[in-house]
């Protein structure tokens, strides 16, 4: 971050924004002109008492990015008519022990979304990648991460095991994405992928629909793996699984065969659970990141070159993807798994 001739206002907590043209602090969402703090994310009301709080990358209410007028709510600015992005162009969500970041890359809108939250000692994250060929994909991805994290935390708080909680979460996310459609969308309603992870004291569990991924990146060199199998023809073929009837015939096709949205009935996630014996981290990400670091070893190598905590690491990973080309939106969540107290490795 250069400060040279930068006269843009800075956030009192997080310093100047990465781009002097930005009106909001990308860390906390504070309005740098008025100094107003971003309103706290309020999860939807739930029958249970005091649902655990969570944060998402949704853009706060505020002036239109297109014309600067204070145009309230809605998908379009009430003054200039420009579509209001559901998400922030850049955001870092920092919950201390775990974190996430997103960046719009070279795209006009950021249609990737992420949400993080805690349920007791469990750490949870949801990442959704808006399908770029659908209309207003950001509406689906943001609705999905928020419904997904709320359902996930509620189920974990109620004592459900992670795999059951992830199934609840995916169903809630699918329902929310479906409801994001409006008549104007016609045959291309908003749609998105879904990947969510839960890290507890002794397990790492990932659930997904679509081609966003979960990677295990251990602290030790060589300890890295992709935990998910893409819901695309290429992904199924690579995993030695049968390709569903009606999918594209090209075995290398990356076209999605499962996704969330009004034009899909998919709501059951694939789920995988591992019980790591050594420390490391679960990394959930959209293809905007793994396009450049597809092999687990490549991602592990990139991570090994980074210092700092999870927030800094998430931000640096999005930066690496942007520098590598940034062809698509990027969203990444990093959930560290500390050394087990019962484990013997030092």
């Amino acid at each position: 971050m250069s400060t040279g001739t930068n006269t843009a206002p800075a956030c009192p907590e997080h310093g100047p924004p990465s781009d002097p043209g930005h009106r909001f602090c990308e860390v906390c969402g504070r309005d740098l002109v008025t100094g107003a703090a971003r309103p706290a994310a309020v999860p939807p009301p739930d029958g249970r008492p005091a649902p655990p709080p969570w944060v998402s990358s949704r853009a706060p209410d505020g002036p239109c990015a297109g014309c600067g007028e204070d145009a309230n709510g809605g998908s379009y600015c009430d003054h200039c008519g420009r579509r209001r992005s559901a998400g922030q162009d850049h955001a870092v969500l920092d919950l201390g022990a775990f974190a996430g970041a997103t960046d719009r890359g070279r795209r006009r809108y950021n249609e990737d979304a992420l949400a993080l939250g805690r349920a007791g000692a469990a750490h949870a994250a949801v990442v959704c990648d808006g399908v770029s060929t659908s209309t207003r994909a950001d509406a689906a991805s943001h609705a999905a991460v928020e419904a997904g994290i709320a359902a996930l935390l509620a189920a974990l708080t109620a004592g459900d095991p992670p795999e059951t909680a992830l199934a609840d979460s995916a169903r809630a996310a699918a329902e929310a994405a479906r409801k994001a459609a409006v008549p104007e969308d016609r045959e291309t309603p908003p749609s998105c992928t879904y990947v969510a992870g839960v890290v507890t004291a002794d397990s790492v569990t990932v659930g997904w629909i679509g081609d966003s991924r979960g990677y295990w990146v251990g602290a030790e060199p060589g300890d890295a793996a992709c935990l998910t199998v893409d819901d695309s023809v290429a992904g199924q073929v690579a995993a030695g699984r049968p390709v569903p009837v009606g999918a594209p015939a090209d075995p290398t096709s990356r076209a999605l065969i499962r996704w969330l949205g009004a034009d899909s009935s998919d709501a059951e996630p694939q789920v995988v659970m591992v019980r790591p014996v050594r420390p490391g981290r679960l990394i959930l990400c959209s293809d905007g990141l793994f396009h450049y670091f597809a092999a687990p070893e490549a991602l592990a190598a990139a991570v090994a070159g980074l210092d700092g905590g999870p927030a800094s690491m998430a931000r640096e990973l999005t930066r690496l993807a942007v520098e590598a080309g940034g062809h698509d939106n990027i969203a990444v969540a990093i959930l560290p798994v500390p050394e087990r107290s019962s484990g013997g490795v030092t």
């Binding site: 379009y76 600015c77 008519g81 420009r82 795209r107 409006v182 104007e184």
Partner: protein, 430 residues
């Protein structure tokens, strides 16, 4: 059930614009549906004035005044119990023939019988001053609280006994006061005048081929008014800062340019009157010019809604998305193309007939030839048939025509008054 109406709307457009593109065209189809329109007992209150031409020419032939009286009686019989009504006889002045005292009375078996007795006594004499007839109706409606105010007007002649300026002034004063459907009978009525009444007072205009058709026409117009379920409906249009509405037209069931009828609500919102709605479908063509944005940007070019008495009935969005994919931006929307053609058809018929009346054979031949070509291409067979009475068609696909030497006056007026009627695009063309 307190639901007042079931309205649905659809937007048909190609929202993709090339880089630098500014024009956004969309067809908005609004449908109001049948039986659910009003809960029982929630029928809107209505008032109707029947205006019948009793000028001297109505006696030649005598069947005209005879059928007009029969038609008025049918219209009276079609009124729902309780609907306030009055009957006005029009010649050089306007005479309230029922009720006896100035005002309107609720329809009942007794008042209907009384009114029909007065109608039977009508005699034809005097001239034609349509503005004065409408002025009388306007004053009758002023004291009515009814939600749906409807007049039907029958004439057989041109508006010869008042100046065009006086006529225009009265029409302007009546605007928004009531809806008027008008019909011409015989050979001497003016399509231009009836279209003027229909445009300003949001009704329909047509000519009748034979006096015997009058009773059915009066019944249909009265039934239409009795079937109106929501009165005073406005099309509300929001456009973004810097955008201009090039035009807003009703394009189905007939062409009606509403552009100039805008009532400002705020800087970016305007209301356009659409009158009363029964179970029916109407199409609107909106054309907005927007400031171009970079490729990839998406802008709301217009938000179109239907409002009545402060209630939002339905809302739809017209979008603009800039793309460098020419396969998307050059795609022609069938509905927009169809109604652009239908609006041009109406215009060339009116211009062609005006040129023909002015003796400009060259312009008339060119315009009416173009009309024949457009009518043929769009499958508008009724209009093609009417045009065939005004011109000899040499080759329809190329629009080659010759003006007919002898044309019955009424054929040209029928072609004119019906020029604004449109057809919908056929499903298989979509």
């Amino acid at each position: 059930m307190t639901q007042r109406a079931e309205f649905t709307a659809e937007v048909d457009q190609n929202e993709f614009l090339p880089e630098g593109g500014r024009l956004v065209d969309a067809i908005v189809t609004v449908t109001a549906r049948g039986t659910e329109l009003r809960d029982a007992g929630g029928t809107p209150t209505a008032a109707q004035v029947i205006i019948v031409d009793t000028s001297g020419s109505m006696a030649a032939p005598a069947s005209k005044i005879a059928e007009a009286k029969k038609a008025t009686a049918v219209a009276i019989d079609t009124l729902r119990d309780g609907v306030a009504f009055a009957v006005v006889a029009g010649d050089t002045t306007a005479t309230l023939i029922y009720p006896a005292r100035p005002g309107m009375v609720p329809a009942s078996d007794r008042t209907r019988a009384e009114a029909k007795r007065e109608v039977a006594r009508l005699r034809a004499s005097g001239g034609t001053a349509i503005g004065r007839w409408l002025w009388m109706a306007h004053h009758l409606f002023l004291r009515q609280q009814a939600e749906v105010k409807h007049a039907i007007l029958l004439t057989d002649g041109r508006n010869e006994h008042e100046s065009p300026e006086d006529f225009a002034r009265v029409l302007a004063a009546c605007e928004g006061s009531f809806v008027c459907d008008s019909r011409g009978v015989g050979e001497n009525w003016s399509a231009t005048e009836l279209r003027q009444v229909a445009s300003t007072l949001l009704g329909t205009a047509d000519g009748l081929d034979r006096p015997e058709d009058l009773p059915a026409a009066f019944r249909a117009m009265t039934e239409g008014a009795m079937g109106k379920a929501v009165a005073d409906v406005f099309l509300r249009v929001w456009t973004p800062a810097g955008a201009t509405i090039r035009f807003l037209k009703q394009v189905y069931p007939h062409v009606e340019d509403l552009t100039g009828r805008r009532v400002e609500v705020s800087a970016r919102i305007g209301d356009y009157p659409t009158g009363a709605w029964g179970a029916e479908q109407r199409d609107y063509h909106i054309s907005v010019e927007v400031e171009p944005d970079p490729v990839g940007e998406e802008v709301l070019a217009a938000r179109v809604s239907l409002v009545s008495g402060g209630n939002l009935l339905i809302e739809r969005l017209v979008l603009a998305r800039w793309t460098d994919d020419t396969a998307l931006s050059t795609r022609i929307n069938k509905q927009v193309a169809h109604y652009t053609g239908q609006a041009e058809l109406a215009a060339v018929i009116q211009e062609g007939l005006a040129a023909r009346d002015a003796g400009d054979v060259e312009t008339a031949t060119a315009k009416l030839g173009r009309a024949v070509k457009l009518a043929t291409e769009s499958g508008h067979t009724d209009t093609a048939k009417l045009l065939g009475k005004v011109v000899d068609v040499v080759d329809a696909p190329s629009g080659t025509v010759r003006l007919k030497k002898q044309v019955a006056g009424v054929d040209a007026e029928l072609a004119n008054v019906r020029s604004v009627k449109t057809i919908r695009v056929k499903k298989q063309q979509e």
